[in-house]
Symmetry: C2
Subunit: 110 residues, 2 copies
Amino acid sequence: MKAEIAVERLAALAQESRLAIFRCLVQEGPDGLCAGDIATRLKLTPATLSFHLKELSRAGLLKSRQEGRFIYYAPDFKAMNALLGYLTENCCGGASCGVGCTPASAEAAR
Amino acid sequence: MKAEIAVERLAALAQESRLAIFRCLVQEGPDGLCAGDIATRLKLTPATLSFHLKELSRAGLLKSRQEGRFIYYAPDFKAMNALLGYLTENCCGGASCGVGCTPASAEAAR
DNA sequence: CTTTTATTTCGACGATTATAAAAATATGAA
DNA sequence: TTCATATTTTTATAATCGTCGAAATAAAAG
């Protein structure tokens, strides 16, 4: 992955509302949620939500599909995984990183 | 890790110059580099570099130590690892994530 | 066709960010 | 002390960002 793309994806996630949206969608799984439900859960106005969904999509972190009047959004796990791989390399890829090459355990992350 | 902190760290890394600084420091290892050397390598003016170093430090991603007139900066691998753990949970923690819970291999990340 | 519902786009606003020249601070050398 | 070097802080400016009301678009229902 190019640094540019990593920056783009990091920037997409580096915002409270957007990280909340992404986490919400990850919890929900591959089927995703329609925009309205996300807006209700996170208490975002439609305009604001749409702005953030576009931002996450532009970064390649979301997939979307239309079903009638509803548009369902779901995480692009592959893209997120590629980002994690990039970060792992850039955190632990150096020969002198003493922490090891696997991300912290779930405990450490909480 | 709280979402707030994750956002702060993601934001710190979500900028071309700062990601380059961090990657440069990771490559260099725990001993770090002094500000001047970073500025030379990445061709940043002292003021701009200082701004970014402060930003990365504020997010807890850098450690620094003074040696004479020089200030050496090095990555805080533990902090970065905690961030990776947080993201891993939020990418693969959902029951329905089909990609598995380890970040992509080094190949996929390139 | 008209109405209702879901979502996006537009327009405006204040807030934050990235940059860098210039001044200030701090440390070591002469 | 005086000078030179390393880094930060200050100040200013242009650009980007997050938010939301209002209008526009799209799709289904009556």
